[in-house]
Point group: C2
Amino acid sequence: MAQTEGAEKSGTRAEMREETERAILDAAEGIFAEAGFGGATMQAIADSCGLPKANLHYYFSSKEKLYRRVVERIFTVWLEAADSFDTDATPEVALRRYIERKMQLSRDYRYGSKVWANEVLHGAPIIQDYLETTLRSWTETRVAVIRRWIAQGAIRPVEPRWLLYMIWATTQHYADFAHQIETLNHGPLEADQWDDATETVCSIILRGIGIDPGAPA
Amino acid sequence: MAQTEGAEKSGTRAEMREETERAILDAAEGIFAEAGFGGATMQAIADSCGLPKANLHYYFSSKEKLYRRVVERIFTVWLEAADSFDTDATPEVALRRYIERKMQLSRDYRYGSKVWANEVLHGAPIIQDYLETTLRSWTETRVAVIRRWIAQGAIRPVEPRWLLYMIWATTQHYADFAHQIETLNHGPLEADQWDDATETVCSIILRGIGIDPGAPA
DNA sequence: GTCTATAGATTGATAGAC
DNA sequence: GTCTATCAATCTATAGAC
C-alpha cells in the first residue's frame, strides 16, 4: 500500500501507470496543439493535468519523448481511419466512407489533427520515418486502386495523388482551421452543419471525378 | 556620411532602412514558418539574415511586434489574391481564376502560407481582429455572389461556405503540407505537376458544383 | 511513486562603446 | 545605425526528501 491513490479509481499498479500516462498524453496533446512544440512548456502540460512538473519527467524522460509519444498516438488513430478506405468497394462507397470517417475524425480529434499539421508544417522533424514508410506505402496502395478505377472507366482520369491530397486537405481543414471557421460562423458548427459540410464535401468530390452520388449512407 | 554602408546598394537613409527591414522580415517569415512563434528565436532570425541580434530589436522593438509585422505582410498578399475572385464574372471564370491564383500563391509564398496556418492553428492570438473584420466581410460578399449563382441555376445548390473552405484548404495544402507532399513525391513538384494539380483541383471543384469546365485559360 | 527545490542552459531584451 | 557584452526571466531536467 505504498502507492498514492490520487483521484483515479484504484487498480493494479500497471493500470494506474497507464491511466496516469494517458492523462499526461491527453493534456500534452492539447497544449502541443495550441502552442506548438516550441511554444508548449512542461509546466503548462503539468498544470493542465494537475500534476507536478517533475512527474511528467518521471513518466516520459524528456519533452521530446513525450511529444513523440503524442504524435505516435495520433498516427495510430489516423491509420485506423485510413482502413475505412476499402480497396474492394466501389469508388463511390470507398471514397464516401473514407471522407465521412475523416470528417468525423476532424470533429472528434481536433487537437490530434492540429499536432499532426504542426509537425508536417515544421518539416516533420519527429515523424519523417513514418512519412517515408507507413504513409508512403498506404498511399501507394490507394493510388493503385484509384488507377484501377480509372482503367475500368469507373471514374474520370485524374492523378490519384491530387485527389487524395484534396480529401486530406478538405477534411483536416475542419480541425486545423477550426478557429477560423468558428470565427466566420459566429460560433462552433452545429450537428446539422457538420452533416451538411460532410455531405457537400462528398458530393463535390464524387461529382468532380464523374460519379453521380446517390443518397448518403 | 555617418551611416554604415553594408553590402546593400546605397540610397537615401529611408531606403536603406526599408531594405534592412525587408531583409529581417524575409528571414523572420522563414524561421517563424519552420519553427512557429514559440520555437523561433531572435538569434535564429538574426543568423538567417546575417545581422547581430541587437539590430533586430533596433528595427522591431520586440519579437511579438516583428511577428505581427510578418503576419500583416502575409495578410496583404492574401488580400490581393482574394481580389482575383471577380464577383462580376461567370462562376467558371471567377472560381477558376481564384483557384489558379491561390495555387500560384502556395507555390511562390510557401512560408507565408505556413505562418498563417500556424497562427490560425494556435487560435489566431495575433490576427483575431483581421478574421473578424476583413476576412469576415470578404467572405460575406463572396457567399452572397455564390448564392446568386445558385439562385440563377448556374451552379448546383451547395452551402457557399463549405465550397470556399474546400478551395482554401485544397490550395493551401500544397504550401502548408509541402513537406509531406514532397516526401511522397520523392522530391519537389515539377512545373508540369503543379500545372496538372492546379487543373485537377479546378476541374474537380467545377464539375463538383455542376459546371462542365472547358479548357484552362 | 510523488513532490519541492534547484541546477544548468537558453532566451528576449538592453546598456553602452564605437 | 551597428555591434559586443550582459542582465533578468524562463525553461528543461534532475536531485533528494518523503
